[in-house]
Subunit: 244 residues, 2 copies
DNA sequence: AAGTGGTCTAGACCACCGC
DNA sequence: CGGTGGTCTAGACCACTTC
Protein backbone atom coordinates (compact mmCIF):
# COMPACT_ATOMS: atom_id res chain seq x y z
CA UNK A 1 0.00 0.00 0.00
CA UNK A 2 1.79 3.01 -1.26
CA UNK A 3 -1.05 5.47 -1.50
CA UNK A 4 0.36 6.88 -4.70
CA UNK A 5 -3.00 8.08 -5.95
CA UNK A 6 -3.48 11.82 -6.11
CA UNK A 7 -0.65 14.29 -5.66
CA UNK A 8 3.05 13.46 -5.81
CA UNK A 9 3.47 11.69 -2.52
CA UNK A 10 6.56 12.07 -0.51
CA UNK A 11 6.94 9.68 2.36
CA UNK A 12 5.38 11.05 5.49
CA UNK A 13 6.70 9.32 8.55
CA UNK A 14 4.22 7.86 10.94
CA UNK A 15 5.61 9.83 13.86
CA UNK A 16 4.95 13.03 11.94
CA UNK A 17 1.35 12.00 11.38
CA UNK A 18 0.96 11.21 15.07
CA UNK A 19 2.59 14.52 16.02
CA UNK A 20 0.28 16.40 13.65
CA UNK A 21 -2.74 14.70 15.17
CA UNK A 22 -1.63 15.65 18.67
CA UNK A 23 -0.98 19.23 17.58
CA UNK A 24 -4.56 19.36 16.33
CA UNK A 25 -5.94 17.97 19.59
CA UNK A 26 -4.06 20.65 21.48
CA UNK A 27 -5.37 23.40 19.26
CA UNK A 28 -8.95 22.18 19.32
CA UNK A 29 -9.69 20.81 22.72
CA UNK A 30 -6.84 21.12 25.20
CA UNK A 31 -5.69 23.91 27.48
CA UNK A 32 -2.26 24.56 28.96
CA UNK A 33 -1.35 21.97 31.60
CA UNK A 34 -4.04 19.54 30.46
CA UNK A 35 -2.73 15.99 30.19
CA UNK A 36 -2.33 14.34 26.81
CA UNK A 37 -3.51 10.78 26.36
CA UNK A 38 -0.90 8.42 27.78
CA UNK A 39 1.68 6.93 25.48
CA UNK A 40 -0.03 3.55 25.64
CA UNK A 41 -3.38 5.08 24.76
CA UNK A 42 -1.80 6.94 21.86
CA UNK A 43 -0.37 3.63 20.61
CA UNK A 44 -3.87 2.18 20.48
CA UNK A 45 -5.45 5.30 19.00
CA UNK A 46 -3.01 5.55 16.13
CA UNK A 47 -2.17 1.88 15.74
CA UNK A 48 1.57 2.41 16.10
CA UNK A 49 4.28 1.18 18.41
CA UNK A 50 5.41 2.91 21.55
CA UNK A 51 8.65 4.11 19.99
CA UNK A 52 6.73 5.91 17.27
CA UNK A 53 4.53 7.61 19.85
CA UNK A 54 7.57 8.67 21.84
CA UNK A 55 9.30 10.03 18.75
CA UNK A 56 6.20 12.08 17.97
CA UNK A 57 6.07 13.45 21.50
CA UNK A 58 9.78 14.28 21.44
CA UNK A 59 9.17 16.41 18.34
CA UNK A 60 6.45 18.30 20.22
CA UNK A 61 8.69 18.72 23.26
CA UNK A 62 11.36 20.29 21.06
CA UNK A 63 8.74 22.62 19.67
CA UNK A 64 7.87 23.62 23.22
CA UNK A 65 4.26 22.52 22.84
CA UNK A 66 4.25 19.84 25.53
CA UNK A 67 6.36 18.74 28.48
CA UNK A 68 6.90 15.40 30.19
CA UNK A 69 6.70 14.65 33.88
CA UNK A 70 8.15 11.27 34.71
CA UNK A 71 5.62 9.09 36.47
CA UNK A 72 2.81 11.51 35.89
CA UNK A 73 2.13 12.22 32.25
CA UNK A 74 2.68 14.49 29.27
CA UNK A 75 1.09 17.92 29.45
CA UNK A 76 0.30 20.84 27.20
CA UNK A 77 2.79 23.69 27.59
CA UNK A 78 1.86 27.22 28.62
CA UNK A 79 0.30 29.12 25.78
CA UNK A 80 2.65 32.07 25.98
CA UNK A 81 5.69 29.84 26.09
CA UNK A 82 6.06 29.05 22.45
CA UNK A 83 9.24 27.59 21.11
CA UNK A 84 11.93 30.10 20.45
CA UNK A 85 14.84 27.80 19.95
CA UNK A 86 16.83 30.01 17.67
CA UNK A 87 17.14 28.72 14.13
CA UNK A 88 19.49 29.73 11.38
CA UNK A 89 17.38 31.82 9.04
CA UNK A 90 17.97 34.22 6.21
CA UNK A 91 17.05 37.85 6.69
CA UNK A 92 14.06 37.34 4.43
CA UNK A 93 12.77 34.35 6.40
CA UNK A 94 13.39 36.16 9.66
CA UNK A 95 11.41 39.23 8.68
CA UNK A 96 8.50 37.23 7.32
CA UNK A 97 8.31 35.20 10.53
CA UNK A 98 8.24 38.48 12.45
CA UNK A 99 5.33 39.66 10.36
CA UNK A 100 7.19 42.28 8.35
CA UNK A 101 7.76 42.66 4.64
CA UNK A 102 11.47 42.51 3.81
CA UNK A 103 13.25 44.33 1.03
CA UNK A 104 16.81 45.38 0.40
CA UNK A 105 19.13 47.73 -1.44
CA UNK A 106 22.50 46.52 -2.65
CA UNK A 107 25.24 48.92 -1.57
CA UNK A 108 28.24 46.99 -2.77
CA UNK A 109 29.01 43.81 -4.70
CA UNK A 110 32.72 43.33 -5.25
CA UNK A 111 35.42 40.72 -5.50
CA UNK A 112 38.20 41.48 -3.03
CA UNK A 113 41.02 39.90 -1.07
CA UNK A 114 39.58 38.56 2.17
CA UNK A 115 40.04 40.90 5.14
CA UNK A 116 42.14 39.32 7.88
CA UNK A 117 39.24 38.65 10.20
CA UNK A 118 37.27 36.96 7.42
CA UNK A 119 40.19 34.84 6.23
CA UNK A 120 40.85 33.75 9.79
CA UNK A 121 37.26 32.89 10.53
CA UNK A 122 36.81 30.91 7.30
CA UNK A 123 40.21 29.23 7.44
CA UNK A 124 41.33 30.78 4.15
CA UNK A 125 44.83 31.62 3.01
CA UNK A 126 45.62 35.28 3.90
CA UNK A 127 44.53 37.03 0.72
CA UNK A 128 42.17 34.55 -0.88
CA UNK A 129 39.48 36.01 -3.09
CA UNK A 130 36.05 36.48 -1.65
CA UNK A 131 32.87 38.09 -2.83
CA UNK A 132 31.73 40.92 -0.61
CA UNK A 133 28.05 41.78 -0.57
CA UNK A 134 26.88 44.78 1.37
CA UNK A 135 23.19 45.44 1.60
CA UNK A 136 20.82 47.77 3.40
CA UNK A 137 17.96 45.67 4.68
CA UNK A 138 14.50 47.12 5.17
CA UNK A 139 11.39 45.93 6.92
CA UNK A 140 8.15 47.48 5.71
CA UNK A 141 10.22 50.00 3.76
CA UNK A 142 12.12 51.32 6.78
CA UNK A 143 15.82 50.60 7.29
CA UNK A 144 16.39 47.97 9.92
CA UNK A 145 19.83 46.51 9.30
CA UNK A 146 23.10 46.69 7.43
CA UNK A 147 24.46 43.37 6.25
CA UNK A 148 27.89 42.38 5.01
CA UNK A 149 28.37 38.89 3.61
CA UNK A 150 31.68 37.37 2.54
CA UNK A 151 31.74 34.25 0.35
CA UNK A 152 34.89 32.55 -0.95
CA UNK A 153 34.89 32.69 -4.75
CA UNK A 154 35.80 29.00 -4.67
CA UNK A 155 32.42 28.35 -3.14
CA UNK A 156 30.42 30.53 -5.50
CA UNK A 157 31.98 32.64 -8.29
CA UNK A 158 31.09 36.31 -8.05
CA UNK A 159 29.60 36.34 -11.56
CA UNK A 160 27.14 33.54 -10.92
CA UNK A 161 25.60 35.25 -7.92
CA UNK A 162 21.99 36.29 -8.22
CA UNK A 163 21.03 38.66 -5.44
CA UNK A 164 17.40 38.46 -6.47
CA UNK A 165 16.98 34.95 -5.10
CA UNK A 166 17.87 33.06 -1.95
CA UNK A 167 21.57 32.89 -1.29
CA UNK A 168 21.22 29.75 0.80
CA UNK A 169 19.35 28.08 -2.06
CA UNK A 170 22.13 29.00 -4.51
CA UNK A 171 24.71 27.65 -2.09
CA UNK A 172 22.77 24.42 -1.71
CA UNK A 173 22.63 23.94 -5.49
CA UNK A 174 26.39 24.55 -5.64
CA UNK A 175 26.92 21.68 -3.19
CA UNK A 176 27.38 23.82 -0.10
CA UNK A 177 24.27 23.36 1.95
CA UNK A 178 24.42 25.60 5.00
CA UNK A 179 23.56 23.55 8.06
CA UNK A 180 24.76 25.36 11.13
CA UNK A 181 26.33 28.61 12.20
CA UNK A 182 28.14 30.10 15.16
CA UNK A 183 26.84 33.52 16.04
CA UNK A 184 28.24 36.22 18.26
CA UNK A 185 25.90 38.96 19.39
CA UNK A 186 27.26 42.23 20.69
CA UNK A 187 26.27 45.84 21.27
CA UNK A 188 28.06 48.59 19.37
CA UNK A 189 27.82 52.32 18.74
CA UNK A 190 27.06 53.18 15.14
CA UNK A 191 29.60 54.95 12.96
CA UNK A 192 28.65 58.15 11.18
CA UNK A 193 28.14 56.39 7.86
CA UNK A 194 26.17 53.48 9.25
CA UNK A 195 23.90 55.71 11.31
CA UNK A 196 23.16 57.77 8.19
CA UNK A 197 22.26 54.63 6.22
CA UNK A 198 20.07 53.33 9.03
CA UNK A 199 18.51 56.77 9.52
CA UNK A 200 19.30 57.16 13.21
CA UNK A 201 21.41 59.57 15.25
CA UNK A 202 25.17 59.13 15.07
CA UNK A 203 26.53 57.04 17.90
CA UNK A 204 23.22 55.26 18.50
CA UNK A 205 23.42 51.80 19.99
CA UNK A 206 22.97 48.86 17.65
CA UNK A 207 22.94 45.09 17.82
CA UNK A 208 25.71 43.46 15.81
CA UNK A 209 25.47 39.78 14.90
CA UNK A 210 28.52 38.06 13.44
CA UNK A 211 27.88 34.69 11.85
CA UNK A 212 30.16 31.94 10.53
CA UNK A 213 28.17 29.34 8.62
CA UNK A 214 29.23 25.81 7.82
CA UNK A 215 27.95 22.72 6.08
CA UNK A 216 26.85 19.56 7.81
CA UNK A 217 30.39 18.29 7.30
CA UNK A 218 31.92 21.36 8.87
CA UNK A 219 33.15 23.12 5.73
CA UNK A 220 33.21 26.85 6.44
CA UNK A 221 31.03 28.58 3.89
CA UNK A 222 30.09 32.11 4.82
CA UNK A 223 31.11 35.00 7.05
CA UNK A 224 28.44 37.58 7.71
CA UNK A 225 27.94 40.57 9.94
CA UNK A 226 24.54 42.15 10.39
CA UNK A 227 24.06 45.41 12.28
CA UNK A 228 20.53 45.99 13.50
CA UNK A 229 18.89 49.18 14.68
CA UNK A 230 18.43 48.78 18.42
CA UNK A 231 14.99 50.35 18.34
CA UNK A 232 13.65 47.97 15.71
CA UNK A 233 15.23 44.63 16.40
CA UNK A 234 15.75 42.40 19.41
CA UNK A 235 16.94 38.84 19.68
CA UNK A 236 14.72 36.35 21.47
CA UNK A 237 15.49 32.85 22.57
CA UNK A 238 14.38 30.18 24.97
CA UNK A 239 16.95 28.44 27.12
CA UNK A 240 16.71 25.49 29.46
CA UNK A 241 18.64 24.55 32.51
CA UNK A 242 20.67 21.41 33.09
CA UNK A 243 18.78 19.26 30.67
CA UNK A 244 18.29 16.14 32.55
CA UNK B 1 19.09 -1.50 48.31
CA UNK B 2 20.20 2.05 48.25
CA UNK B 3 23.82 1.58 47.34
CA UNK B 4 24.81 3.95 50.09
CA UNK B 5 28.39 2.75 50.16
CA UNK B 6 30.83 5.48 49.22
CA UNK B 7 29.20 8.27 47.31
CA UNK B 8 25.53 8.27 46.52
CA UNK B 9 25.19 5.79 43.69
CA UNK B 10 22.84 6.78 40.97
CA UNK B 11 21.85 4.50 38.14
CA UNK B 12 24.00 5.01 35.10
CA UNK B 13 22.13 4.26 31.93
CA UNK B 14 23.72 2.09 29.30
CA UNK B 15 23.43 4.77 26.65
CA UNK B 16 25.43 7.11 28.90
CA UNK B 17 28.16 4.50 29.24
CA UNK B 18 28.25 4.02 25.47
CA UNK B 19 28.32 7.78 24.95
CA UNK B 20 31.16 8.13 27.45
CA UNK B 21 33.12 5.42 25.67
CA UNK B 22 32.66 7.15 22.33
CA UNK B 23 33.70 10.50 23.83
CA UNK B 24 36.89 8.85 24.99
CA UNK B 25 37.59 7.35 21.56
CA UNK B 26 37.16 10.77 20.02
CA UNK B 27 39.52 12.38 22.51
CA UNK B 28 42.16 9.68 22.20
CA UNK B 29 42.28 8.50 18.65
CA UNK B 30 39.95 10.32 16.30
CA UNK B 31 40.25 13.57 14.37
CA UNK B 32 37.52 15.85 13.07
CA UNK B 33 35.61 14.27 10.18
CA UNK B 34 36.87 10.77 10.97
CA UNK B 35 34.09 8.21 10.89
CA UNK B 36 32.90 6.55 14.07
CA UNK B 37 32.33 2.81 14.07
CA UNK B 38 28.98 2.08 12.46
CA UNK B 39 25.94 1.69 14.67
CA UNK B 40 25.94 -2.07 14.09
CA UNK B 41 29.58 -2.32 15.04
CA UNK B 42 28.95 -0.28 18.17
CA UNK B 43 26.14 -2.69 19.08
CA UNK B 44 28.59 -5.58 18.97
CA UNK B 45 31.38 -3.69 20.75
CA UNK B 46 29.23 -2.67 23.69
CA UNK B 47 26.82 -5.56 23.68
CA UNK B 48 23.74 -3.37 23.48
CA UNK B 49 20.83 -2.96 21.14
CA UNK B 50 20.70 -0.61 18.22
CA UNK B 51 18.31 1.75 19.99
CA UNK B 52 20.75 2.20 22.84
CA UNK B 53 23.56 2.98 20.42
CA UNK B 54 21.38 5.50 18.64
CA UNK B 55 20.38 7.16 21.90
CA UNK B 56 24.06 7.46 22.84
CA UNK B 57 24.87 9.02 19.48
CA UNK B 58 21.95 11.42 19.73
CA UNK B 59 23.38 12.68 23.02
CA UNK B 60 26.71 13.33 21.31
CA UNK B 61 25.00 15.05 18.40
CA UNK B 62 23.26 17.41 20.81
CA UNK B 63 26.61 18.15 22.38
CA UNK B 64 27.95 19.02 18.94
CA UNK B 65 30.65 16.36 19.11
CA UNK B 66 29.50 14.24 16.15
CA UNK B 67 27.20 14.55 13.17
CA UNK B 68 25.24 12.03 11.10
CA UNK B 69 25.17 11.69 7.35
CA UNK B 70 22.36 9.45 6.18
CA UNK B 71 23.67 6.57 4.13
CA UNK B 72 27.26 7.37 4.91
CA UNK B 73 28.11 7.30 8.59
CA UNK B 74 28.57 9.22 11.80
CA UNK B 75 31.54 11.57 11.96
CA UNK B 76 33.52 13.55 14.49
CA UNK B 77 32.61 17.24 14.46
CA UNK B 78 35.06 20.05 13.76
CA UNK B 79 37.24 20.83 16.74
CA UNK B 80 36.41 24.52 16.76
CA UNK B 81 32.72 23.81 16.57
CA UNK B 82 32.11 23.01 20.17
CA UNK B 83 28.67 23.00 21.58
CA UNK B 84 27.34 26.47 22.15
CA UNK B 85 23.72 25.64 22.59
CA UNK B 86 22.84 28.36 25.02
CA UNK B 87 21.93 27.17 28.49
CA UNK B 88 20.22 28.94 31.32
CA UNK B 89 22.98 29.80 33.77
CA UNK B 90 23.42 32.05 36.76
CA UNK B 91 25.83 34.96 36.50
CA UNK B 92 28.27 33.07 38.70
CA UNK B 93 28.19 29.93 36.53
CA UNK B 94 28.46 32.02 33.38
CA UNK B 95 31.57 33.87 34.55
CA UNK B 96 33.30 30.72 35.72
CA UNK B 97 32.66 29.01 32.40
CA UNK B 98 34.17 32.05 30.70
CA UNK B 99 37.24 31.75 32.84
CA UNK B 100 36.68 34.78 35.03
CA UNK B 101 36.25 35.15 38.75
CA UNK B 102 32.83 36.56 39.62
CA UNK B 103 31.97 38.81 42.53
CA UNK B 104 29.19 41.24 43.26
CA UNK B 105 28.07 44.25 45.25
CA UNK B 106 24.48 44.54 46.42
CA UNK B 107 23.07 47.96 45.52
CA UNK B 108 19.51 47.44 46.59
CA UNK B 109 17.39 44.82 48.33
CA UNK B 110 13.82 45.95 48.87
CA UNK B 111 10.24 44.76 48.97
CA UNK B 112 8.13 46.78 46.57
CA UNK B 113 4.94 46.71 44.54
CA UNK B 114 5.72 45.07 41.22
CA UNK B 115 6.40 47.55 38.41
CA UNK B 116 3.88 47.20 35.59
CA UNK B 117 6.26 45.45 33.23
CA UNK B 118 7.25 42.93 35.87
CA UNK B 119 3.67 42.21 36.95
CA UNK B 120 2.67 41.74 33.33
CA UNK B 121 5.56 39.44 32.52
CA UNK B 122 5.03 37.29 35.60
CA UNK B 123 1.25 37.25 35.38
CA UNK B 124 0.84 38.94 38.76
CA UNK B 125 -1.99 41.14 39.96
CA UNK B 126 -1.11 44.83 39.32
CA UNK B 127 0.56 45.75 42.59
CA UNK B 128 1.61 42.42 44.03
CA UNK B 129 4.58 42.43 46.30
CA UNK B 130 7.93 41.45 44.88
CA UNK B 131 11.47 41.44 46.15
CA UNK B 132 13.78 43.62 44.10
CA UNK B 133 17.47 42.81 44.09
CA UNK B 134 19.87 45.14 42.35
CA UNK B 135 23.51 44.14 42.12
CA UNK B 136 26.65 45.31 40.45
CA UNK B 137 28.37 42.28 38.99
CA UNK B 138 32.11 42.11 38.57
CA UNK B 139 34.43 39.80 36.71
CA UNK B 140 38.00 39.71 37.97
CA UNK B 141 37.17 42.78 40.10
CA UNK B 142 36.11 44.95 37.19
CA UNK B 143 32.46 45.94 36.67
CA UNK B 144 30.86 43.95 33.89
CA UNK B 145 27.12 44.09 34.46
CA UNK B 146 24.21 45.56 36.38
CA UNK B 147 21.54 43.09 37.36
CA UNK B 148 17.99 43.60 38.55
CA UNK B 149 16.01 40.58 39.74
CA UNK B 150 12.33 40.59 40.73
CA UNK B 151 10.89 37.69 42.73
CA UNK B 152 7.28 37.46 43.92
CA UNK B 153 7.26 37.35 47.73
CA UNK B 154 4.85 34.43 47.43
CA UNK B 155 7.64 32.46 45.84
CA UNK B 156 10.32 33.43 48.32
CA UNK B 157 9.79 35.84 51.24
CA UNK B 158 12.20 38.75 51.23
CA UNK B 159 13.47 37.94 54.71
CA UNK B 160 14.48 34.38 53.90
CA UNK B 161 16.68 35.46 51.00
CA UNK B 162 20.38 34.78 51.33
CA UNK B 163 22.34 36.66 48.70
CA UNK B 164 25.48 34.84 49.67
CA UNK B 165 24.39 31.58 48.08
CA UNK B 166 22.84 30.43 44.83
CA UNK B 167 19.44 31.94 44.21
CA UNK B 168 18.42 29.07 41.93
CA UNK B 169 19.31 26.61 44.64
CA UNK B 170 17.17 28.48 47.17
CA UNK B 171 14.29 28.54 44.69
CA UNK B 172 14.63 24.81 44.08
CA UNK B 173 14.46 24.10 47.81
CA UNK B 174 11.35 26.27 48.04
CA UNK B 175 9.67 24.07 45.43
CA UNK B 176 10.26 26.37 42.46
CA UNK B 177 12.89 24.72 40.36
CA UNK B 178 13.80 26.96 37.45
CA UNK B 179 13.74 24.92 34.29
CA UNK B 180 13.53 27.26 31.34
CA UNK B 181 13.57 30.93 30.51
CA UNK B 182 12.66 33.23 27.67
CA UNK B 183 15.34 35.79 27.01
CA UNK B 184 15.26 38.97 24.99
CA UNK B 185 18.57 40.48 23.98
CA UNK B 186 18.77 44.09 22.90
CA UNK B 187 21.22 46.94 22.54
CA UNK B 188 20.75 50.09 24.61
CA UNK B 189 22.57 53.30 25.45
CA UNK B 190 23.56 53.56 29.10
CA UNK B 191 21.99 56.14 31.41
CA UNK B 192 24.21 58.50 33.35
CA UNK B 193 23.85 56.51 36.56
CA UNK B 194 24.41 53.10 34.98
CA UNK B 195 27.45 54.23 33.04
CA UNK B 196 28.96 55.59 36.25
CA UNK B 197 28.38 52.29 38.03
CA UNK B 198 29.85 50.32 35.14
CA UNK B 199 32.73 52.77 34.84
CA UNK B 200 32.25 53.66 31.18
CA UNK B 201 31.42 56.87 29.30
CA UNK B 202 27.85 58.08 29.50
CA UNK B 203 25.77 56.94 26.55
CA UNK B 204 28.00 53.95 25.82
CA UNK B 205 26.34 51.00 24.11
CA UNK B 206 25.45 48.03 26.29
CA UNK B 207 23.86 44.64 25.90
CA UNK B 208 20.64 44.24 27.82
CA UNK B 209 19.24 40.77 28.51
CA UNK B 210 15.72 40.45 29.89
CA UNK B 211 14.80 37.05 31.26
CA UNK B 212 11.54 35.49 32.41
CA UNK B 213 12.15 32.17 34.14
CA UNK B 214 9.65 29.42 34.69
CA UNK B 215 9.38 25.95 36.17
CA UNK B 216 9.02 22.76 34.20
CA UNK B 217 5.28 23.12 34.60
CA UNK B 218 5.27 26.66 33.31
CA UNK B 219 4.88 28.58 36.60
CA UNK B 220 6.46 32.00 36.17
CA UNK B 221 9.12 32.47 38.82
CA UNK B 222 11.52 35.29 38.13
CA UNK B 223 11.93 38.45 36.09
CA UNK B 224 15.47 39.67 35.58
CA UNK B 225 17.27 42.28 33.53
CA UNK B 226 21.01 42.27 33.16
CA UNK B 227 22.88 45.11 31.47
CA UNK B 228 26.35 44.16 30.24
CA UNK B 229 29.22 46.40 29.24
CA UNK B 230 29.50 46.02 25.47
CA UNK B 231 33.29 45.96 25.62
CA UNK B 232 33.44 43.10 28.08
CA UNK B 233 30.58 40.82 27.20
CA UNK B 234 29.20 39.19 24.05
CA UNK B 235 26.61 36.52 23.58
CA UNK B 236 27.57 33.44 21.60
CA UNK B 237 25.37 30.68 20.31
CA UNK B 238 25.23 27.94 17.71
CA UNK B 239 22.18 27.61 15.51
CA UNK B 240 21.14 25.00 13.01
CA UNK B 241 18.97 25.08 9.96
CA UNK B 242 15.92 22.99 9.17
CA UNK B 243 16.04 20.56 12.08
CA UNK B 244 15.04 17.10 11.08
C1' DA C 1 25.27 -4.29 -4.54
C1' DA C 2 26.83 -3.50 -0.08
C1' DG C 3 26.87 -0.66 3.82
C1' DT C 4 25.10 3.19 6.30
C1' DG C 5 21.78 5.78 9.14
C1' DG C 6 16.32 6.43 9.63
C1' DT C 7 12.02 4.43 10.80
C1' DC C 8 9.19 0.99 12.96
C1' DT C 9 7.40 -3.17 15.50
C1' DA C 10 6.12 -5.89 19.72
C1' DG C 11 7.42 -6.89 23.34
C1' DA C 12 9.96 -6.20 28.50
C1' DC C 13 11.44 -4.20 32.95
C1' DC C 14 12.55 -0.02 35.75
C1' DA C 15 11.81 4.57 38.20
C1' DC C 16 8.61 7.69 39.61
C1' DC C 17 4.03 9.81 40.94
C1' DG C 18 -0.40 10.05 43.16
C1' DC C 19 -3.96 7.81 45.55
C1' DC D 1 -0.86 0.06 44.41
C1' DG D 2 -1.82 1.04 39.46
C1' DG D 3 -0.55 4.14 35.90
C1' DT D 4 2.90 7.02 33.91
C1' DG D 5 7.06 8.06 31.36
C1' DG D 6 12.24 6.22 30.75
C1' DT D 7 15.18 2.61 29.23
C1' DC D 8 16.17 -1.48 26.62
C1' DT D 9 15.94 -5.71 23.56
C1' DA D 10 15.97 -8.21 19.02
C1' DG D 11 14.49 -8.13 15.36
C1' DA D 12 12.65 -5.83 10.37
C1' DC D 13 12.36 -2.88 6.23
C1' DC D 14 13.38 1.62 3.98
C1' DA D 15 16.21 5.60 2.05
C1' DC D 16 20.46 7.10 1.01
C1' DT D 17 25.53 7.04 -0.20
C1' DT D 18 29.33 4.90 -2.20
C1' DC D 19 31.65 1.88 -5.10
Amino acid sequence: MTGDAGEGRIVVHKYEQVAASIRESIAQSLSPHDALASERELMAIHGVSRMTVRKAISVLVEEGRVYNVHGSGTFVGSADIFSKTPKLTSFTEDMISRGSTPSSRVLELTRIAAPDQVALALGLAPSSEVTKIRRLRLADDTPIALEEVYLPTTVLPTESLNLGSSLYEQLRLAGYEVFRAEQEIMAISLSAEDSRLLDVAEGSAALSVTRVSSSRRGQLIEFARTTYRADRYTFQLAVTRDDK
